[in-house]
Amino acid sequence: MEIPYTVTARPDTGLYNAKIGIWLFLASEVMLFGGLFSAYVFLRVGALPGYWPHGLLNVPVGTMNTLLLIGSSVTVVLAWASLKMRQFMQYKIWMAITILCGALFLIVKLTYEWPAKFHHFGAYIKTEDLAKYEKYLGNNYLEAKGLPPRVEITGDLDEAKQTDTTYVIKPDAIYTDPTNPAMDRPTFWPRPISDDPAKEIVVQKSDVDYASMFYPRHSAYFQVYFLITGLHGLHVLGGLIVFTYFWLPVGSKLYKQNPEHLANRIEVVGLFWHFVDLVWIFVFPLFYLL
């Protein structure tokens, strides 16, 4: 059976069928991501003071990824415009750049951002034992300034030195200088982890509420982070697969049959790609900056 109205508009809707199809799909996607973002709001507003982490993600890398997605949104619309102007080679070039940008986004996410989290360690200190770690946490200083307390010590876990009763942590810079006003707020460049053995923090396991690498089980924050960025990453992958399909000879065959048909299909996958970009525009500030 041939699908009708792939090229010309259906008289009653004024649109070719695929366009209504993709918009109905995007409407369902709005509700899918809407549900997840409302979960984010629910968890964040409900978090106790100090339990919603700030500054754990790499902002320069996140900024770069945002610019990559915005760039690819421009190039995919240029690829579509090239088809409309019947410039097939231009289309191939713009589409290739789009695929490269999207692939780079995913590569950065999967080979750098996520693995960096899996190697980062955090130990939540029991409320009654927070005072023992005051010189690392600086909670009296934070309280005087009206800032939320620090309830966790993060850094690299030195597994070789770990014992049955203690964690030995090479701390993030913030815990070696907790009362420095520069540490009050997150910074653009991530603060380094201390490599100085003198600055290692020994945490008694009996003082720890719970400890974990930055896996989803670490906190509600990382649960929504991995869920939303993971689902978003799958969408990026889906878009890339379709882009690549139309970049391969399938696209040129379709172009020779009917260039307007290819232009419409690129418009539809482009609409999906813009939606993926649109979701990221919210993800970036909500997880990286705020």
């Binding site: 010309t8 509700m31 809407g34 409900g46 409309k84 997150p186 482009g270 649109l278 500030p285």
Partner: protein, 115 residues
């Protein structure tokens, strides 16, 4: 069910000079919007390190910028600036449901019992 059939006259495979020129003027617009979005991204990052008095105000500023960016993407890249009514109708209902969803989330924090 009988499908309405596609008109027999095949659509024009070529493209008129007028159309090409029309799209060409749009292309410059797309690039400008792209640059505006990139600028807004840098602005969002920069403003997140400015202390607006409380964390809530920083959230308001960042979300206002994000909403503006999303508006640009939807209006220009997704052509919602001038689209058919059928699509507006679909989206209008979606927006209403999405607002309802977030309102329910807000309602979860409403506690009528004072203690």
């Amino acid at each position: 069910m009988e499908h309405p059939t596609e008109p027999t006259h095949a659509p024009e495979h070529g493209v008129s000079d007028h159309d090409a020129h029309h799209i060409n003027t749009h292309v410059k617009g797309y690039v400008m919007v792209g640059l505006l979005l990139a600028f807004c991204t840098v602005l969002t990052v920069g403003l997140s390190y400015v202390n607006f008095g409380s964390q809530s105000w920083n959230i308001v500023v960042a979300m206002a910028l994000a909403t503006f960016k999303v508006g640009c993407v939807a209006a220009i890249f997704m052509h919602l600036k001038s689209e058919k009514w059928t699509i507006y109708r679909i989206l209008l209902i979606t927006v209403l449901f999405a607002i309802g969803l977030f309102a329910l989330t807000g309602l979860a924090f409403h506690d009528p019992i004072r203690y």
